[in-house]
Symmetry: C2
Amino acid sequence: MLAMTAQLNPPTTLRTRGNASHLHRIALSAATRQGAHMRTEDVRAWLAQRRHANVLTVERVPFADLDQWHFVPSTGDLAHASGRFFTIEGLHVVEHDGPHGDGPYREWQQPVIRQPEVGILGILCKEIDGVLHFLMQAKMEPGNPNLVQLSPTVQATRSNYTGAHGGSSVKLLEHFADLDREQVVVDVLQAEQGSWFFRKSNRNMIVETSADIAQDEDFRWLTLGQIAELLHEDETVNMNARSVLSCLPYYDPNPGALHSDVQLLSWFTGERARHDVRTTRIPLASVEGWKRGPDAVEHEDGRYFKVVAVAVRGSNRERVSWTQPLLESVDMGVSAFLVRDFGGVRHVLVHARADGGFLDTVELAPTVQCTPRNYEHLPASQRPAFLDVVLQAGERIRYEAVHSEEGGRFLNTRCRYLIVEADAQVPSEPPRGFVWATPAQLTTLARHGHYLNVEARTLLACLNAASAWPRGVV
Amino acid sequence: MLAMTAQLNPPTTLRTRGNASHLHRIALSAATRQGAHMRTEDVRAWLAQRRHANVLTVERVPFADLDQWHFVPSTGDLAHASGRFFTIEGLHVVEHDGPHGDGPYREWQQPVIRQPEVGILGILCKEIDGVLHFLMQAKMEPGNPNLVQLSPTVQATRSNYTGAHGGSSVKLLEHFADLDREQVVVDVLQAEQGSWFFRKSNRNMIVETSADIAQDEDFRWLTLGQIAELLHEDETVNMNARSVLSCLPYYDPNPGALHSDVQLLSWFTGERARHDVRTTRIPLASVEGWKRGPDAVEHEDGRYFKVVAVAVRGSNRERVSWTQPLLESVDMGVSAFLVRDFGGVRHVLVHARADGGFLDTVELAPTVQCTPRNYEHLPASQRPAFLDVVLQAGERIRYEAVHSEEGGRFLNTRCRYLIVEADAQVPSEPPRGFVWATPAQLTTLARHGHYLNVEARTLLACLNAASAWPRGVV
């Protein structure tokens, strides 16, 4: 009977539902501008040294030179012989907007990356000299213009963590795949680019450890203050790292916001309900307005992006290490948050954006998110809202850096990320589809998937970085 | 210049992000067992009187008697001639479970309701004599065994609120379609049954008003305490009302929980990531294992549900008001939460359930959710976990009532909802796919869509009802 009672009422320590200690320790790490392990000014040299050690080159090749990858005869889809990794297929999107999904009508077709597996993007953190440090990897990805950037500790596909490759070769993966729930700081499924991926999401994780982690030339422990400084540099912190860092919980020191959280959620629910986005996967060969040549699948007017192929070669340049398709944007993108203080509290202007690849109609996006070149042929009235305000920002720019999109899928695909003080042209009562929210409110939403799109998550990480290191200080 | 400055820095009152006053006023309404408008004991008579006033009958008819509805020749899908309302199509589901989506394999085909529009389920509330009252409608739905049940103030499809019907005929819809953001208490997209609908969700709303609302025979103001008492009665509060009520925010008086909120979210993320559910819509005529007769589309072994047709007739019984298809479950379902106190705080055992119709792999479901008859042919080892514990609960039952599923889509489809004290057979460390969470934690998750499935939301509303009115008191 004693055993049964013990089982029924085991000695239980309840936890508080919040994790206040996380908030304090994260704030301390953000305020710590020099790390215990490596000086920030030495990170650039270390990355250059890792680039040198890798000695890889990436070259565009014709599709015919792809190894194991082929266009499926029946569909024209680009796929790997194993059926694994990802495919490039077609997508047909029909969107009805307006007050109740009955308004303006958009319809288009496009190629899209389909990769239904959930990957792991994980950053390990550890208290060193009383301050949380985050283990960043110098990782080579073929699409990065500079090849090696700071990435999460672990970037793993499902095949990595299911051992389908015959045992994991991903270092430190066990901290995330065999998770100790006591050590979780962040763990949320977040979506990738809705304009390029079909419903792709990854598990964004931050896990604390007290274990001894063996030194490794590809890994360095950095404080959040150090990473914030590095986020001011071009093409240094990769997309996955930015996404994971954006999910970190931060304490909200402000007295409130223009809208309560319930009001913000209600606005979002209304945006999701009023958009009606219906998607159908179609064969890549049937996508209207796009053409396939020997070197690229591209838009007939040269807009948007291309599907291309690359070969990655090792040091002797004779041997091809691997080949793969990548997407390449036709030009640099612009993603920007307009910001303004209301009642002394900083707000950002968020946009409910519909994309064909989102799981559910809209996600919250930057005020401006586009590749300006794609709109050059259109009259001013059809250019994205606030684009000109951002492009003419000048001294109202509070943060600016060029970052790469994920180098494992995108070739030389870069975006200028901006935080811009709103001027008088920007109304306080924003147009339909936009809302003012505080960074703290976005941080709360980032605990859950499918609220903030990946570009907004990058900018949220940049906002936090700009708080830790205002422009001009760096 | 003054105008511009005013625009840039308008006089701004910040709101607190939380809505503490909502919590207090909701708690007061839940504690108020008699309303200002109608005595609870009179509700039954009022519902009976509305049933009598409606004088409608519902009869099963062969598919050939459906008006405007037909089986599309090319697919066998059941559709309305207008292309509106909903269709009944086929769904092919492939599920890989296991630690990383690489484990046990399930594959099946089934009919499914497809209705991609987002409807509005809204309850209006108002302070009367200092206490929040909620405006409940006595609404007739053809699938309800007793026809009329308590429903939200408004149940509207998109055609209702876009005026596609040539001007709305839905009373009080304007409070929800033309929302005053100051008045929002609840506004969240929640999914319907994942085993019967393909990715259907509705906007669950509670909106406060101070306006004078005209008296109407079909509407009554009730306190949450009154509704709680009525939730103990069989087939009285309809599914949509239960769903909306489950989203109400409640103050959490407890010191904590077994798992912090971050740990709970991490467990959920892990469950979503380890399940791999892939669905393909297929023609209804091609669904394997199902057959179509003149009166029903049904499973070859008589399991699960049938697609049937009904005619709704007015008082003279000669004239058919309308006809429509409905789904009919083959037997009564059972949905139950096992509950247990840990450290003096009540917890419920939640299950991460995969269904073909969910937007994203799994949602949180009751400990047990099934139609037992569908498992009678299987060995004990293949019966749902904890089903026998629930069926043999006896005096460990803390709440029990039979509720109907939505009467606009389901014919006589009822489920026994139970809250059962866990006995010694139920381990404190639950099996994979289950977790102990507090009702307060579920309430926090219900602010967001696609965490709690509709059966779990009903049980959350019942948990709150059972707190306000413990069993035996009613």
